[in-house]
Point group: C2
Chain length 363, copies 2
């Protein structure tokens, strides 16, 4: 475990929000932070130079996708993800558990691990905690995740309980398998929507001891109240000294609400995926650029935004580019949405610093 991985700089007096610093071999991340997702080793449409201009401090890459293609050996022989991607800043990889269980024709899951067929070519693969750590060590990210089982919603108590026990078993084996110095390992809290199971999960993980704790198994189809009930219950129980990572979340509103509860790290495909379907985040809500009402609209996407797309182009032109299927549309949309998310995080960090975060509207 790297020394001094995380430092809380300031905690909001009226909420649980906190402002921190995460130290990694490839640099420092100001938290709360949002990680854009580079599923297959690139944030779709963005060059590393764009991400640097945007102020991105850490990327998330998917171990499962990179394991299948281009393969761990390929990445390892090229000096790891950072060198391959020309991204000399922090990277976090997920363990592949979520993708293995959601994207594939699952062959078998038991305490040993998971056997699945590749979504690319149907080839058969086995993932275990040891394999997931081996893969992530080869990829060489700054922060890696323990192997977990993520259940669909709804799942009953008995199923959730036994799955949680398996995830704890896997967490221990993940920890034991992990030997790479200078690479942090985070545990993932599961337990579905059962408060006592969430607590069992966290207690078990704390006993094993990780460098950070992630909340997994949320936003899997449950009503939003349940998501936040779970967060309200479990987040305060994660010791304040550790970074808290909410996996795969979410909308700007979800992020604000989660920061208020004390979450430090976020990743989500929403800004990049929405960009590619023409859904843009603005200070006035989401905007569907395909909508005919923007056909003649000379305003920027968001009059309050200072991104490259908003400083240079009108909604009318961006709509035209999108309808004409020009590559530039995807790029400008992605740039804008990421700028929106990163600006939101910056605003949230500033609001924690001057202790003005409570009761304010951020999006």
């Amino acid at each position: 475990m790297p020394e001094g991985h995380f430092t809380v700089l300031k905690t909001s007096t009226k909420t649980s929000a906190r402002r921190g610093i995460l130290r990694t071999p490839h640099g420092i991340i100001q938290t709360p932070a949002f990680m854009p997702v580079g599923t297959k080793g690139s944030v779709k449409g963005m060059a590393p130079s764009d991400l640097i201009d945007l102020g991105v401090e850490m990327l998330l890459c998917n171990a499962y996708h990179l394991y299948l293609r281009p393969g761990c050996r390929f990445v390892e022989e090229r000096g790891g993800l950072q060198k391959l991607l020309a991204w000399n800043r922090p990277i976090l990889t997920d363990s592949g558990g979520y993708q293995v269980l959601s994207l594939n024709t699952l062959v078998r899951v038991n305490d040993e691990g998971v056997v699945f067929k590749s979504h690319l070519d149907g080839s058969r693969h086995a993932f275990s905690p040891e394999k997931a750590i081996e893969v992530q060590e080869a990829l060489g990210a700054d922060i890696i995740m323990s192997f977990d089982e993520c259940l669909a919603y709804p799942s009953d108590y008995a199923k959730t309980s036994s799955s949680l026990k398996r995830t704890l078993l896997w967490a221990r084996r993940s920890k034991e398998a992990h030997h790479l110095e200078n690479q942090s390992l985070y545990g993932i809290i599961q337990g579905g929507f059962y408060p006592d199971l969430r607590e069992v999960s966290l207690t078990g993980l704390l006993e094993i001891g990780f460098d950070g704790y992630a909340v997994g198994g949320l936003c899997v189809g449950e009503p939003k109240e349940m998501t936040f009930q779970t967060l309200q219950q479990i987040v305060p129980k994660i010791p304040a000294a550790f970074p808290r990572y909410l996996m795969g979340v979410g909308t700007p509103e979800d992020i604000v609400a989660s920061v208020l509860l004390g979450i430090d790290l976020f990743d989500c495909v929403l800004p990049t995926r929405h960009a590619r379907t023409g859904i843009l985040f603005t200070s006035e809500g989401t905007l569907h650029i395909r909508n005919a009402k923007y056909a003649e609209d000379n305003q920027p996407l968001d009059p309050c935004c200072a991104c490259y797309a908003c400083r240079n182009f009108s909604r009318a032109y961006l709509r035209y580019l999108f309808m004409a299927r020009e590559l530039l549309a995807l790029r400008l949309n992605t740039l804008h949405n990421l700028y929106y998310y990163l600006t939101l995080m910056k605003t949230l960090r500033a609001a924690i610093e001057d202790d003005s975060i409570e009761g304010r509207a951020f999006c």
Copy 2:
């Protein structure tokens, strides 16, 4: 006709190559120059900021495509192409003649003009010289082209002769229809592969009087020797004081050979289109990035290239991105190919300046 539109700075002593300056309302172009093609109002995958970084001085946009979508009124109401595209540098538009005759279900061509069906939705449209000029005035480029008929290869003498007469008629009407100050109008030399007809065409155009002269109707399927026989014959007859533009050409080798014959301006989709199919121009010839032999290749695309892609990424990673259909692949490939073309033009200009162009290898 703008005063002092073109100045020849230096002419090669042993070849016909010349180094010049083209002045336009949106800035100066150093010639010989290559124009990337922004068919529908964007160079596919490139933002204007990339093009500026690459040193692009002038873009070509297609009047036909922009006329159909988003439409001339749309562009005009937004202050013209430069404002719409956030490209505050020179733009040249072609007249649409080539596209009208090659992309569409042609309904009718006669001396009056062309009736055609849109390749987008089958709607019926009429283009005439007057219409082509009206469209290009509305788009507001710095340099526009007269309306011409471009024949397929092969076309016999009689057909070529009558088509050429029509093009001359259209050229005169284009000139008469053109009233926009500060916008140059170029005539297009046709005449197929018949030297006497090419000469009739040029003589006719010179009588009408244009700001520049383009060679059209080449690279339409003829053997390469015929292309260059035609250029060798006709280019020296274009008075040296005028800019000479070779439309839609070509490979790096074609460009070098044409510069040696005294051509000043080029446009071609080759670098951008090839990029999107994984064909890259390098100092060692073209490279097909899909080829399995690059799967583990840690070299840059071109060890002699200083573009962003070559400075940061390996062939192995670029091949992986291309095979995984990541958007970044198209962008990096396009960036590289345009860098290759623009560097070639820079090298050619320097070689004319120090009179070392003859007998040298450039690509």
